[in-house]
Amino acid sequence: MKHHRLNVAAVAAAASLTLTLAACSASGASPDSSSSDDGTITPREISWLLSRPADGGVITAMEQIADEYAADHPGFSLNLITTPDRPSYIQKYETLAAAHQLPELFDTDATPFAKKLAGAGQMVDAEELLTDLGLYDDYLPAALNYQRFDDGSLYMIPFEFQLEFFWYNTALFEQAGIDVPATLDDFPAMCEALRAQGITPIALDGQDLWPLERYMAYYPFRMAGPEYVQALKKGEAKFSDPAGVAAVNWLYDLGQAGCFQPGFSSTGYADAQALFTTGQAAVYNIGTWELSNLATENLDEGVRDDVDYFTLPTIDGAVTADNEYVTPSGIGMAVNAETYDPLVKDFLAYALARYPEVYTESGALSPTTTASAAIPDNATPLYQRAVDQAGDVGDAIAMPWDTQLDPTSNTRLQQELTLLVQGDETPEGFIATMDAVIAENGPEAFAE
């Protein structure tokens, strides 16, 4: 019996430790460094660890380009390893990074973790690379700025350019007798009017957490500009500052006004979108990556003619312009410095020059000024309007906070936000908790 007891206990212990072991046992391995300075291009397989939809525009375009390149360079191939689910991807990439096992190319946002990687010399300077390839000036400044770290350095190359809108249903707005909200402060009244008609005001994918975190970024961006979150994450600004308090109160009010569907925290991406596209919800906050679903004949006929969009409303006394909002250039691609060689450079030179033309054929917005999106045949008039809107974007970007905060504070913020909006947490409690969490984790994560 004694043996058995020990065994069960030990098995239990082992299983609970396996995960940790996986992380620590892999360290210390060094990648095969094939950097040669003589400039000889030796075709081989290179890999790109990425987090993009498997049948999306970026992957389709890059597969085509890789095939073209391989035709001239027998022996070359591009192995695309995609994990579209972002949290899973980040875990995968960070674990590989810790083990020095990242492939030639990999995706990352401008997170504190990526900053550490760059600082450890594991990433190629993208500004130098693009300048060297003569492509730097082709890129939209906004697309590059999104990829930059706070100190202005650039280590990631953008492959997309997106605008995030509030899509809304004009028929439901009419039914509730309301107009597009002129300021963020009009949101609670908008929600109440829609609720009174039995309409879900805003469809929210609460399961993925980042969509609600966007709402957290809006008020401070209007009130204090993009600098607020940069100071907040280091513990130099606080949630108890005016911009933070206003944002927290605004979100609490949204929750109290019943803006989001009940049970939003367990609603997934597809279900939230379905609430909007089936005409059950009036507003849906998402980016132009969904153009093919929201502004083409793919959209349900019942709502197709009623869908319109507005950009992030302002507030009284806003410090950012109306045409400045969330305009991300997507997750960026970093080049692994440890495996960077003439082949990688030559392939990137070919691929990045060719990319805008191939990519925009799918109707997507290019991060460069060298190609414009081809409007699909089945597009609604909204498609063209959204594409044109990209030409009128201001300089300041409302950065998604999940790419800004240190991961521990970010996780906690996402959790507390759900509670705040559900009314399970008071604004005061939220502010006290979050200021304490950031004080514990932020300054250390951003220590130079």
């Binding site: 019996m1 239990a12 940790t20 991961p407 959790q415 509670l419 399970d424």
Partner: protein, 310 residues
Amino acid sequence: MGAPPPPDRPRQSVKEAKMLPGRSKISVLVFLVPPLAVYAFAVLLPIVQSLFLSLFKWDGITDMKFVGLDNYVKMFTRDDVFWTSFGNAMGYLAICLVLQLGGALLVAGLLTTLRRGRELVKTLYLLPAVISTVAIAFLFQRIYSYEPTGLLNQVLEWVGLGSLAQPWLSNVDTVLAAVSVPEGWRFAGLYMLIVYAALLAVPKDLEEAATLDRANWWQIFWRIKFPYIRPVWITTTIMAATYALRGFDIPYLLTNGGPGQASELLTTYMYKTAFTHTDYGYASAISVFIVVECLVAVGLIYFLLRRKVD
């Protein structure tokens, strides 16, 4: 107590040793050492490594920094999420044990009285244990769904309890139970099989004798059947408790610990700390705590259930 003492392991091993009179100690060692070596390498070494890593602060990229016991100090004094997770893990454990052991005993007891269709019922109860966890998580996500209306809320509606309908996975008061139930339901069938096999081994004549002595069903169960199955019961309890303490997949898939930390368990919190926060040192400290917690739980169960025999 009139029941004979249950078969005992130590006695069995003495018997086994006598069955191998010609075997030298060396030949026994030859057979024992390889598995022990594997065990030490695969089980003990990681525990020691975690213990070691828990004294450092390490993000995977920059150099490891020795911080002594600070990770433990943080865990016990500065981290409210840790304590919330610990409380939740205890709640999860309680619900899983009640469902798995209570359910197992109940169904196994009923099965022994069943004359026909035992195999069918056994198979049906065991079925959830062989379905993939991801499928179960998806299944329950639909069952608990509020908008669109899921099965649970629909049934409440049908029986006239529509006012109780709610988003089970979003309500901080119901979410812990909601993520525990699938885990409890899932393995109840497995433990039922084990308990059922033990109940079958209870000699019929003892039961009949007790019936002649006018013992009621509770006395028959408590004084005759239960002492007989106690060793199996201890094993089953230890298995269920340690599995529940290590429970991870269903809460992780259903709610990822949310909303807030309402369904965060120590295991999901450790996973996030390691792979989302890349704080491997602190995650190791939590995993060391989980090991200790499992050992304490096993010790307690063994001590409490064993003592009654003596």
